[in-house]
């Protein structure tokens, strides 16, 4: 049973987002994703200042057996990346919703929440996948 904080939004590609007080959005991969990947050995981060598009490539999380793309759930500009992942990528395994955050994006407009999943909707997706 994977961890699923109630104050976040999710995507069907197993990313989570948190809206910060300053309007920026912090993004990472879910507990389900990190468990499926296994111990991360590397995270390829975007450059600060880079523009991202909804559904476009933003980062790559790499374990011994796979390298998975992390897509941006919104349009915007990268304002911060979690540099600690360079030396310690396993943070994303140990604490996927906290210390394991990957990118902070400044949205370029209003966020289309209808394109995102509530915790319940994401849980339903996980249940379906397990069947």
């Amino acid at each position: 049973m994977s961890e699923l904080p109630g104050d976040l939004l999710y995507t069907s590609d197993h990313e989570w987002l948190r809206r910060e007080d300053d309007g920026n959005v912090t993004i990472g991969v879910t507990d389900h994703a990190q468990a499926a990947l296994g111990d991360l050995v590397y995270v390829e981060l975007p450059e600060v200042g880079q523009d991202v598009e909804i559904g476009g490539d933003m980062a790559v999380v790499e374990s011994v057996k796979a390298a998975s793309d992390v897509y941006s759930p919104i349009d915007g500009t990268v304002v911060a990346v979690n540099e600690d992942l360079a030396d310690d990528p396993e943070r994303a395994n140990a604490d996927p919703y906290g210390d394991g955050w990957i990118v902070t994006v400044q949205p370029s407009g209003d966020i289309d929440e209808s394109a995102l999943l509530t915790p319940n909707a994401y849980q339903e997706l996980l249940d379906e996948e397990e069947v």
């Binding site: 050995v41 390829e44 450059e47 796979a66």
Partner: protein, 456 residues
């Protein structure tokens, strides 16, 4: 002789299990109009006796001329032990080391190779090799675009001395991915990059070949710094033998070149009509995840014993698919084995001797040939083991006349580089004795004066 171990009964049993009527049924999704019945133009097969005879007759036409051709592939003495060892069954048939526990020998050999090549080039990591020097340039170009994401121009500048064939190959491989190759302006006296290098738009990368294709020694420090000042990466195209004498790419300029590639053939691989050869590629540690090809790493097993394995495989095609660093999923294992044995047998001192003797042979050859009326050096400045000569007449007929005397006089530059006019690139390695050189000089003198007499 059948190469597939299944008997007809085996095949029948397998077809029954999967429910297919016959082997053809396994290919039935291929449209009928794409199938052919026969291969027109392909003659019927020959038996072993016939083919052996055919190949013997063909081989007899090769002859054993004195070879003074360089231009990217070099005749060096290969110690007998190199291929005695490399053709042992364990090395000769070993191939893809994906199953680490069954491939420790191969993996260790490649690891030793990687170590030697990084030392030779003065950089930090190496891959397990590429196909050849030319495709190495293509891979390096793609790698610089991936590594230097800040620069979206796709523009790669080549110093004047970059091998024109390498440029063609790189254009074919990388050109359809939005990458363009342009030449830096040339100083026609030195043959190297011009003093003034104004460019409108900063390139992604600058490629510098040392020694140059026409045998000159480029100002690698100046060009490396110039490139880095403009935020461009530096790709060094180098001759491995020369690195026993010349500054390694990792020490070029203030920061060193970022990637080094080249043709590994001079290290114990015979000329064999153009191949197989191997390409080497090394880079700085920070670029390692953008490097194509296999990489062997050293690790320890569950019992703490040292071992070797393929590593950083998530860059490769079988994991990353279309986002892989390259679609290469091989390495030139046998050639790399030979090169590793060659480097081990020679050691640093031996390689240095080969390099020095090659330089001396070429210097002697150049002195002898330029003493002939109608033959001059094309460029001023130092050389390694190749020199471009200007002839007072077309090169091709001269080469033909030399060939009749069993001498391959050199590489006709007037074809690849028509702007140079009647230019001939000559090369003399450590394999050429004083007597060989004297023979060439006498032959050329003869040919040129005979022609002078005839046309007078």
């Amino acid at each position: 002789m059948p190469f597939i171990p299944h008997t007809e009964d085996d095949t029948k049993d397998m077809l029954e299990v999967i429910g297919a009527p016959d082997l053809d049924a396994l290919f039935d999704e291929i449209p009928a109009d794409l199938l052919i019945d026969s291969l027109d133009g392909v003659p019927p097969g020959l038996n072993e006796m016939q083919i052996t005879r055919l190949m013997h007759d063909r081989a007899a036409r090769d002859g054993a001329p004195l070879c003074f051709i360089g231009a990217g592939a070099y005749e060096h003495h290969i110690p007998q032990a190199v291929w005695d060892i490399a053709t042992r069954g364990e090395y000769y048939s070993a191939y893809t080391p994906y199953q680490a526990e069954a491939s420790q020998g191969t993996l260790q050999t490649i690891y030793e190779y990687q170590t030697m090549i990084t030392e030779l080039t003065g950089l930090e990591v190496s891959n397990a090799s590429l196909y050849d020097g030319a495709s190495g340039l293509a891979e390096a170009a793609l790698m610089t675009v991936r590594s230097n994401r800040r620069n979206k121009s796709g523009r790669i500048l080549l110093a004047p001395g970059v091998n024109p064939t390498y440029e063609k190959v790189a254009t074919v491989i990388a050109g359809s991915q939005g990458i363009t190759f342009e030449r830096l302006p040339v100083n026609s006296v030195s043959g190297n990059a011009a003093a003034s290098l104004d460019v409108d738009e900063s390139p992604v990368a600058v490629v510098i070949q040392q020694p140059s294709f026409v045998g000159t020694l480029e100002e690698v420090d100046r060009l490396t710094n110039w490139a880095h000042e403009r935020g461009a990466l530096v790709v060094a195209v180098v001759n491995p033998t020369s690195l026993a004498l010349l500054k390694a790419p990792g020490h070029w300029g203030e920061e060193g070149a970022d990637i080094a590639i080249g043709e590994g053939q001079p290290l114990g691989v015979p000329l064999s009509s153009g191949g197989p050869y191997f390409g080497f590629m090394t880079c700085k540690q920070k670029q390692v995840r953008q490097m194509p090809g296999r990489i062997v790493g050293r690790t320890s097993d569950l019992e703490g014993e040292p071992g070797f394995t393929l590593t950083l495989q998530a860059r490769e095609q079988h994991i990353r698919r279309s986002k892989a660093t390259s679609n290469i999923c091989t390495n030139q294992g046998l050639m790399v084995t030979a090169a590793t044995i060659y480097m081990s047998l020679l050691g640093y001192d031996g390689l240095r001797q080969v390099a020095l003797r090659s330089y001396e042979s070429t210097a002697r050859l150049t002195d002898g040939l330029t003493a002939i009326k109608g033959v001059d050096r094309m460029f001023e400045g130092p050389h390694f083991h190749e020199v471009a000569l200007r002839l007072d007449r077309p090169v091709a007929p001269v080469l033909e006349a030399l060939a009749e005397r069993d001498i391959l006089g050199g590489y006709d530059l007037s074809i690849a580089c028509p702007e140079l006019g009647n230019a001939l690139l000559v090369c003399a390695t450590e394999t050429k004795t004083d007597a060989d050189i004297d023979l060439y000089v006498a032959a050329l003198k003869d040919i040129l004066t005979e022609e002078n007499r005839r046309s007078a």
